[in-house]
Every structure is written in C-alpha cells, then in structure tokens.
Symmetry: C2
DNA sequence: GGTGAAAATGCCGCGCC
DNA sequence: GGCGCGGCATTTTCACC
C-alpha cells in the first residue's frame, strides 16, 4: 500500500459519496487505475464497509455512557459467552476487552437515564459481575471513524 | 420520521453501497419515493456522512487506548482551547466531556506503545493536567457505527 | 405518496501503451 | 502500472396519477 492508496483511503474515510472520477483527479490518476486501487483495497479487506453515519441526537439517542466491567474469576468459555451476549445488545456500540483491573469497557448509546438503568438491569441479570462502573458523557467533543493514514 | 425511514436508516447504516432500487424493494417502495426519503434524511441532517470503514490492523493501528483526563481547575476558555487542541490530534478518534471525577475521556488508536508515550508527552506538554490515566485494550470485541433504529 | 420513463451521471470492463 | 473509450447500470429529475 503506497502513498496513493493512503490518499485514496483518507478521501473515502471522509467522504465515500465522491465519484471515482473526482477521487482520481485528487490523487492525480485517471479513472481506471484509481477504480482498480479501490477494488483492491476492498478485496484485501482494508476497506471493510461502506456506511452512512447518523446523528444520534436526531434519533433521540442523546446519552452516551461508558461502562467499565470487572467480571471476576471466570473460565474462558464463560467470558466468550458473556462477550457474545453483550455484543447482541443493540445499545452497545463498542466493546473492548481490557488489560488491567477493568475487564471490559463498553460504550452504550441510549435515549435517557431510564434506558441506562434498563441496560444495567439486563446486564447484571445475565450473570453475577464483580463490579460495574458507569461513566456518563456530558458532550461528544469529537467522533471520527477516519484513521490517520498520512504520516505527519 | 416513520418506520419506513427507520428501515432505510437501518439498511444504510449497515451497507451504503446498496442501490436505491434494492433498498426500495426491501422497504416495499418504488424507486423514486425511496430516493426522495433518502434525500430528505440527508437534508435534515439525520444522515450526516457517507464513509468507508477501514480495518485498523491493516493500517498497523493495532493499539487502542482509553485516556481518562482530570484537568483540574481551569476556566471555560481554557477548557475550550484544550478540547480544540486535542481534537486536532489525529490519533484521537473520540473525545467526550464527562460527568464525575474524570473530565475528559479519549479513545486513541496508535501503532504501538511508543506512540502511546509520544501522545502522552505531547498531551502533558500542552498544559499541566491534574491526572491522566491510560487504559489499554487487548481486543476489540465489537465496534459499530449503526445506532439501533428499530424498536425491539 | 406512487408510477413510468427520460436525461444525466458514473461505473467498470476492454483493448492498448 | 497506467490510459481512453464505450456499453451499461444507476441515479436523479421529470410530468402525471
């Protein structure tokens, strides 16, 4: 993957509605080679998806909460099952298995406090957990899906 | 926004490469009205962007770190400036202003431990901070940009 | 809202350098 | 790896129900 591919990725991560012709201009290529590069990035699994991003406030999903979970001592099978179950829950946008005292970090997006509590109740009903800490976001200052691809 | 709009959003949040004709079929609409609804969702700012998602591992960005920041006592202007400066940093994917003891929560994506340290050094060089805690992710279990739009 | 169809645009395969 | 052409799919805009 050379610097032209990186430029293409930078463009598409910011705006995937651009035509191949316009992208080609921006990276000083003609249409066909540019198109072939994009195909290749898709086939190689570097580009994983094409999606639209939606304003959560417009959907009434104004509340973001980070949930830090200490599972306590459990087997690998148990942990896998736990992770799979949490993955199914639609308000869960991100799940990370963590190093350190916190075992899992979740980011959930919900309409209001009641939904946070409903989520919490469902979560602890699934299984006993050693500790669950919720951290509430007041404001989303930055949110991007675009990874840095250009050095400097 | 009715249930048809929600169905359209659910589809486009999952796969924006679908043709309008195919989306129309899935929501039992003909092409033109379906197209008009999508336009409306864009014009209303509900759909904010069309992007491609990229595999961070493929870019050598395998390390995700949550950074919890306590800023200490500072003026609103100072906080705004701080937030703006952190927003500029390309490894920062998400920034939230938090309720509670932690003032800001960041998610950063970097190639390796050295980059974490480099980020940390740049961060604390910007200004004195009361406390900075890094939490390291071992594994990304779930990551989605698709908000739940269908009740149930 | 829905339909059908036409115009404009953009995609993407081919032959060639 | 890159280019230009051209058929074809898709988008987008009509006029009308």
């Amino acid at each position: 993957m050379d610097s032209t591919d990186r430029k293409i990725l930078a463009i598409l991560q910011d705006d995937a509605s651009m035509s191949v012709a316009d992208i080609a201009k921006r990276v000083n290529l003609s249409q066909t080679p540019c198109w072939r590069r994009i195909q290749k990035l898709q086939d190689a699994g570097i580009i994983t998806k094409r999606v639209v991003l939606v304003d959560p406030d417009a959907l009434g999903l104004g509340l973001t909460v980070f949930v830090e979970i200490e599972t306590g001592d459990h087997s690998k099978d148990w942990l896998d099952g736990f992770a799979a179950a949490v993955t199914q829950m639609p308000e869960v946008m991100e799940i990370y298995r963590m190093a350190g005292d916190v075992d899992y970090m979740l980011r959930i997006t919900v309409p209001n406090m009641a939904a946070v509590d409903a989520f919490y109740q469902r979560l602890i009903a699934m299984v006993p957990l050693k500790n669950v800490t919720s951290r509430f976001a007041m404001e989303r200052v930055k949110y991007t899906t675009a990874y840095p691809v250009t050095a400097g």
